[in-house]
């Protein structure tokens, strides 16, 4: 290890989360809430908060903070807050309500999540997430979110990968859409009430730090190109994940890393950047022109059986392949979880089948997800009821009828568990900068269970941040009046202007997208489903060379003072370069396999991920040390008092 990592990073002081109370895990959130200072409603009016992003976390936080009486300013890059990518989440949202009497409880949701994350998340955070999960369902139902109901009028649930209980609440295959519309409507209600100012088509390009505290942002009005500074007493980033570093992913095209990457460069630690979840059930790519990948909810694994032809190179029509010549490899290898193994296990298993030549479809990069048995058992209408819109979408994209022919699926980049480091209060290492939802690193560990992303986004936004940010604001006296003329504000604005001018003046010969594709291919190849030391070192060199070419051979047409989509993408891809390098360094230094991070050097005899708790039971939080300096690693040791660290097994 020492030899390959030399010079790529330095090691700083260990860090720790100082806000989580000690004591019984079930009492910690209550203790923290009681210990937090309050601000009376009359004084909240004098305090201002910026919220970047309007997905589940951002919209719910902005609405709740506005309702509480703070002056809130919200930003999103889309033309409406309703279009944040949370809208695309399909399957469901977990909550420990135990409506099914199947042994579920807060404790079990906590346990499943810690285990699912392969013991790389904090017990305190995860317990709190499980604890508030039920209140999320109550809140959303009160807002009119049309969750699925049974004939008695009660809420229906279903089960998801990695668990053995039925705790996932859903709204057909559009749960994210319905939850987001609930939060969006709450946000627009506050906009009408004048407590939240919603700014659409605005992109955050930098963070303003004054006297060591986050005090504002620089944003670009994407219609006019005007650069604006907005100042506040605290800044909340809810800007989502960075999976588009891979170019092809299930993320919306606009999802990017700029907000958190710029904050990282201003001093916010970036935690576990290499933890990227690869989702097992996506529609395979059809060709070179592919611009993004489409996810099929893994809820399909409840009724769909996954298989490949038992013999490599069998190109018969799948319906002509008899049962005895099919390999239901998940049911065979993991009898107790079967097709519902967690995402990392299912993804790697699919890749292994394809690598062994048993893949189906173009390039052999696909496996079958077969609803045939379920349709025969339950009837077509029952399957339509549960998954109709997903199957319609599949048919539109592939021109194949999933009611007649098994669907083809392949893993794709989906969710990033890494993100800005935050403490129990969701505060980053820059005072006054809070980070929520997918943008932070907390709660999921090295792998995320299905239906937990929506839960975390709404837990952070509705219930956790609104309780913790007040403590910061109550204890921090605003450090004097800051206005646009403050030297730090002017300097930050100038740096942003400079970066835009540079991008526009290179006048080279390659488009932004060509660089993005090439960068994505490097990260996918060397820092994707499987990584090894040699490949990661090679990737760092490739990324650096490509970045050099980017800054000398990029072509961006037009000017800043207009709606300029090439310029928008250029700024985002520029930031993906820095992030891609940090991801590879993080993946390289973590010489164990855990969750979504599979190092070929660290596996059990039968090819499962082999963790090394003695060496790596910590969060890797990276500090930016300067443009050409190696990043500095700060370790946050993880203690497990309530869950025993065991090797995960789904067999």
């Amino acid at each position: 290890m020492g030899a390959v990592t030399t010079g790529l990073f330095t090691v700083g002081e260990p860090i720790r989360d100082t806000k989580a109370p000690a004591g019984p895990v079930q009492d910690r959130w209550e203790a923290r809430r009681f210990g937090a200072k309050l601000i009376n409603p009359a004084n909240r009016r004098k305090l201002s908060i910026i919220v970047v992003g309007t997905g589940l976390a951002g919209a719910s936080a902005a609405a709740t903070l506005g309702e509480a009486g703070y002056q809130v300013t919200s930003f999103c890059y889309q033309d409406s807050a309703r279009r944040a990518h949370s809208i695309a989440a399909q399957g469901g949202i977990n909550a420990a309500k135990n409506y099914r009497n199947d042994g579920d409880s807060v404790r079990r949701l906590f346990y499943d999540t810690v285990k699912g994350g392969d013991y790389r998340s904090r017990e305190s955070n995860v317990y709190r997430l499980a604890e508030v999960s039920s209140a999320i369902i109550d809140q959303c139902v009160a807002q009119g979110v049309p969750f699925a109901r049974d004939y008695g009028g009660l809420l229906d649930t279903r089960s998801f990968g990695g668990v053995q209980v039925s705790r996932t609440f859903y709204a057909r295959g559009q749960t994210g859409q319905q939850l987001l519309l609930g939060a969006y409507q709450a946000l627009e209600r506050q906009a009408a009430a004048g407590t939240v100012e919603v700014n659409t088509r605005h992109e955050m390009l930098d963070l303003i730090v004054i006297d060591g505290k986050a005090r504002g942002v620089v944003v670009r009005d994407m219609v006019t190109g005007t650069l604006e500074t907005h100042l506040a007493d605290a800044v909340v980033l809810a800007s989502g994940g960075y999976g588009n570093v891979y170019h092809l992913s299930t993320n919306a095209m606009g999802c990017n890393t700029t907000a958190i990457w710029r904050a990282h460069r201003r001093g916010a630690f970036f935690a576990n950047p290499c933890f990227t979840q690869i989702h097992p059930t996506c529609i395979p790519a059809s060709g070179e022109h592919q611009s993004k990948l489409t996810l099929m909810s893994e809820s399909l694994r409840n009724d769909g059986r996954i298989w490949v032809p038992a013999t490599a190179g069998d190109t018969r029509n799948p319906r002509d392949i008899p049962e005895t010549e099919r390999d239901y490899y998940l049911e065979r290898a993991y009898p107790s979880f079967g097709n519902l193994v967690p995402r990392d296990v299912a993804s790697r298993a699919a890749k292994n089948q394809c690598d062994a030549g048993r893949g189906v479809g173009p390039g052999g990069r696909g496996v079958y997800l077969d609803l045939g048995d379920a349709i025969a058992r339950l009837g077509r209408s029952s399957i339509e009821e549960k998954y109709g819109n997903l199957l319609d979408m599949y048919q539109k994209i592939t021109d194949e009828d999933p009611y007649q022919v098994p669907m083809r699926i392949y893993p794709a980049v989906h969710y990033t568990m890494g993100g800005l480091w935050v403490d129990y209060d969701l505060a980053s290492s820059i005072p006054g900068l809070f980070v929520i939802g997918e943008a932070n690193f907390s709660d999921h560990g090295a792998n995320r269970l299905g239906a937990s992303a929506l839960m975390q986004g709404l837990a952070d936004g509705y219930f956790i941040l609104p309780n913790t940010i007040g403590d910061y604001l109550a204890k921090t006296q605003p450090s004097g009046v800051v206005d646009e003329s403050h030297p730090e504000v002017v300097a930050t604005m100038e740096e942003v202007r400079e970066r835009i001018n540079t991008l526009l003046s290179i006048n080279g010969e390659r488009t932004v997208d060509s660089f993005h594709k090439e960068l994505g291919a490097i990260v996918w190849e060397y820092c994707g489903m499987e990584r090894n030391a040699e490949g990661l070192v090679h990737a760092v060199a490739l990324i650096r060379a490509l970045r050099e070419e980017f800054w000398s051979n990029l072509k961006v047409t037009g000017s800043n003072e207009e709606l300029n989509q090439s310029l928008e993408r250029a700024g985002r891809v520029a930031d993906f370069f820095g992030l891609a390098e940090l991801m590879c360094i993080d993946a390289l230094h973590r010489g164990e396999s855990c969750g979504s991070h599979f190092r070929t050097e660290s596996q059990t005899g039968d090819g499962e991920a082999l963790r090394d708790d003695d060496a790596f039971a910590y969060v890797a939080a990276w500090e930016f040390d300067g443009e050409n300096a190696p990043p500095r690693l700060h370790r946050e040791h993880l203690d497990y008092e309530f869950v025993e660290l065991t090797q995960r097994s789904y067999k």
């Binding site: 309703r82 009119g144 979408m393 219930f463």
Partner: protein, 249 residues
């Protein structure tokens, strides 16, 4: 495939626009319509021309960001489809395709194929929500919802807010969008207290934004990518009428 595109180019809201022709070849049937535009834009960029600005994001048919009137039809020739889910296999080699922004008084052109749809957000601000402060909401199972009501609410709630209904309507009306929201919230027990006031407020905001009235032509439902039915407008009208006669409002 080789396609000729005639695309509306307009630099900004203040400048005049016109149709401009582009030949694009090397199109595969498995490309989406937007991927085909990506190919055109890469080529334009290399030759130093400004690429065509168009709105898009999730490319999964759910965010509602994509638009485009294709050969005069909102979201193109396929039924129940957003533009991002429209594939080139539905066109033929040698076709000439007209691509234009949504045309509607209340949706000013921002650039090329992009329009400003923020008027729809303002209709929601006027009352398109259930007032439920964050906090100790009642236990979710305490409110029973009949399955048909839940399904009806869900069908209405699937509206993606893309604005195709407005673009297709000869009156430039957003009543299908507004009716869907009124039906979604009005079908649920939680939505009853504000049902009348919501309908009145949203319709007032709708009219104030310059959207036209509904004359039941049905073009909106013909192009709606998620199949919102026309009777949701009737539902809204019924709510407005009963609210007008409600002495409490």
């Amino acid at each position: 495939m080789k396609i000729t595109l005639r695309i509306w180019r307009q630099h900004n809201v203040h400048s005049p626009g016109s149709m401009v022709s582009y030949d694009v070849d090397g199109i595969s049937a498995d490309m989406s319509f937007l991927e085909m535009l990506d190919v055109l834009n890469e080529r334009l960029t290399i030759t130093g021309e400004d690429p065509v600005a168009f709105d898009h994001d999730c490319r999964e048919g759910i965010c509602g960001m994509c638009s485009l009137a294709i050969d005069g039809v909102a979201h193109g020739p396929e039924g129940l489809t957003t533009t991002c889910q429209l594939y080139m296999r539905h066109f033929s080699d040698g076709d000439t395709i007209d691509v234009e922004p949504w045309h509607a008084e209340s949706f000013p052109v921002v650039r090329d194929l992009i329009v400003d749809r923020s008027a729809l957000d303002r209709i929601i601000q006027a009352g398109g929500y259930i007032s439920a402060p964050t906090g100790a909401a009642p236990e979710a199972s305490a409110t029973l919802v009949r399955k048909d009501a839940a399904d009806r609410a869900f069908d209405a709630a699937t509206c993606i807010g893309c604005g195709a209904c407005v673009a297709a309507c000869p009156n430039g009306s957003a009543m299908l969008f507004t009716g869907a929201k009124a039906t979604h919230l009005g079908a649920l027990p939680q939505g009853q207290p504000e049902r009348g006031s919501r309908a009145l407020a949203m319709v007032a905001a709708h009219d104030a934004e310059g959207f036209g009235g509904c004359t039941q032509i049905g073009e909106c439902t013909a192009v709606c990518p998620v199949g919102i039915p026309l009777d949701m407008i009737s539902r809204l009208n019924a709510d407005v009428l009963s609210a007008l006669g409600d002495p409490g409002l």
